[in-house]
Amino acid sequence: MKIKFGQDRVLTSQEIGRRFSILRTALALLLAMGIAILLIFLVSNNPFRDINSLLLGPLSSSNRISQMVNKWIPLLFTGTAVCLFFSVGQINLAAEGAFFAGAFTSTLVAIIGGIPPGLHFILCALAGGVAGAIVCGLPGIMYTKFNVLTVVSSLMINYVVLYLGLFIITNVVRDPAAGYEASYRFQNTARLAELIPGTNVHSGLIIAVLIVVFGYLLLHKSNFGLQMRTIGANSSFARYSGMPVARVIVLSQLLGGFIAGLGGTTEVLGLYNRFGYTGLTNHGWDGIMLAVLARNNPKYIPLAALFLAYLRTSADVLNLTSNVPSEVINIIQAIIISFIAAERFLAGWEYRTIVRNTEKAMSLKEGVANE
């Protein structure tokens, strides 16, 4: 219901809802920053410098900005991947494992010599993507075929993948000359080039942006995406209206897994010259958080991911320049997610505003009718 009446324009319920969700976000940010500042005062020996690095640290040099962009890239992949999982209503937490699987599988291809550049990266990307698809597809298949709870199976798969990957890296492709637990060097033909010369930003950024666009178009502009969202909203309805529910669920998990795996590939081939992870990287968990903040719409993933990348860069700055434990950043992150996700936070106020506006709208309408 939208009523425009001279100067007295009355807001619709949806508009009020949107304003309140912005207000909730702003309050969550304020609250989290307040607590962060409190914690910094508690431990820091130079609180004003440290609060400054928390708020503005990532912008303090071009080096740090490019660092932030590099932190942004993998989040675009996992965020989009999880949007696909969650849109069909599957709480698949295996993006973490898929990212790791993508990283170590593409390592196996990246150390082979004699493949022309360009083709080499494509082969690595395929290997990483397929590995990711298998990791995330399994919980989907287990759910549709055996009715196994996706949350539980995907959590377990993450750890299986972690130890499988570590086994392969330390027993099959470990380079004794590296000096630490790492694979042989990647061939230069496989690595991603710098995107902007002079900075560390790698060309995985282009792939990442394409993936986000692809995810958005798939979910919101394609027939398949409509089926996905229908199943996510009401799977019985989708089934009765004749949609191939199981197939759509499995396919979307495979696709999301491919994206998360590809993220792992671009991360290792863009930033490092060997595979050196010794544990899960948390990119998958970050993706879950981003998908929820973006309400499963890939369109908002870049903004949410930029925010997270900014926080993470702040943590690095704090680590380097102060005695404040960078865990402060994780505490902030936890508070922000909680309050943004709290749908009924400020609900009473929101409800009263909507009622008041509707009453106003009704009276205006009556006024028109009386005339």
């Binding site: 055996f146 539980v152 299986v160 909680s338």
Partner: protein, 305 residues
């Protein structure tokens, strides 16, 4: 290989299975109570960490084990209280607030550790206490059985007793009945005058106490100090074990012993040059296979009916 088999059936081995099962058992029972109230909480990692940290700090500053126990449970309940408030009253998706609280559990304890000790790794400097071991009279003198059953930490016995306590609580008490009714059919329960949110809140608090005990076991029995992220995924394994047990305390307990055995076999196998990664993978892989097998069996039963 025959060496491995002969080692598996030793008393020491069975004893270590029981010891390793303890924290997971607590979490699984916690998850079970939560499940009966129809709330999936994945925040047990964070809750256990808070409790483990609270136990160490409480015992170090009061000089008593009881002080540690109380502070540990208090901190654990505080965290699950936040979870319950957000889920039940602010309508937050349980997955999300659970995720946030796991982050908070990990970061908050490291931050606290840093403030109190100046170290971000462990709490050895605090000099905290541990729970005593119990040597059961008579049983401890039986040759094999004595080594298996006696000499465990007191919390281990509490954990195994909790199976029975939770069984009785859920199926034989009024509150247990109310929890099951709000879990299975909130509308029906509410039409009978049961306050649905309040009942779920209480169930979650009880679940929090159980999970906290698991955390306290880690830092006051399994190890004599707190280390960062010492839960190492046990909160998640507990949820998986509960899911394998299908909401039945006794069955859950049996599954946990199978887990513990997989874990312990993995550890043993390392001394036979099996790569350590496969040992670490064992409990997770067992769960996955178990999940599929169980659901196949359940589907069969349904078809036969």
């Amino acid at each position: 290989m025959s060496d491995l088999l002969s080692m598996v059936f030793t008393a020491d081995f069975l004893g270590s299975v029981i010891r390793m099962s303890t924290p997971i058992l607590f979490v699984a029972l916690a998850a079970l109570v939560g499940r009966k109230a129809d709330v999936l909480c994945i925040a047990y990692e964070g809750i256990m960490l808070f409790a483990a940290f609270g136990g160490v700090v409480g015992s170090a500053y009061t000089g008593t084990v009881t002080g540690g126990l109380l502070l540990g449970i208090l901190l654990g309940m505080f965290l699950i209280g936040i979870f319950a408030y957000f889920v039940l009253y602010l309508h937050t998706r349980p997955l999300l607030i659970g995720l946030a609280l796991n982050i908070l559990g990990s970061a908050g304890t490291v931050f606290g550790l840093y403030i109190l000790t100046g170290s971000k790794a462990n709490s050895t400097r605090l000099g905290s206490l541990t729970f005593p071991e119990v040597h059961i009279p008579l049983i401890k003198d039986i040759p094999v059985l004595g080594t298996v059953l006696s000499g465990h930490n007191v919390l281990t016995y509490v954990a195994f007793l909790s199976i029975i306590i939770v069984q009785i609580f859920i199926y034989r008490t009024g509150l247990g009945l109310r929890i099951r009714s709000v879990g299975e059919s909130p509308e029906a329960a509410s039409s009978l005058g049961i306050d649905v949110n309040k009942t779920k809140f209480i169930a979650l608090l009880i679940s929090g106490v159980l999970a906290s005990m698991g955390g306290i076991f880690l830092s006051m029995a399994y190890l004599p100090y707190f280390t960062r992220d010492m839960t190492a995924g046990r909160g998640f394994i507990g949820i998986a074990a509960e899911s394998l047990g299908g909401g039945k305390p006794l069955l859950t307990g049996i599954w946990i012993l199978i887990f513990g055995a997989a874990d312990a076999v993995g550890n043993l196998a390392q001394s036979f040059r099996l790569p350590s990664q496969f040992a670490q993978m064992a409990p997770y892989l067992t769960t996955l296979i178990g999940l599929v097998l169980i659901s196949v069996v359940r589907e069969r039963k349904k078809v036969n009916r």
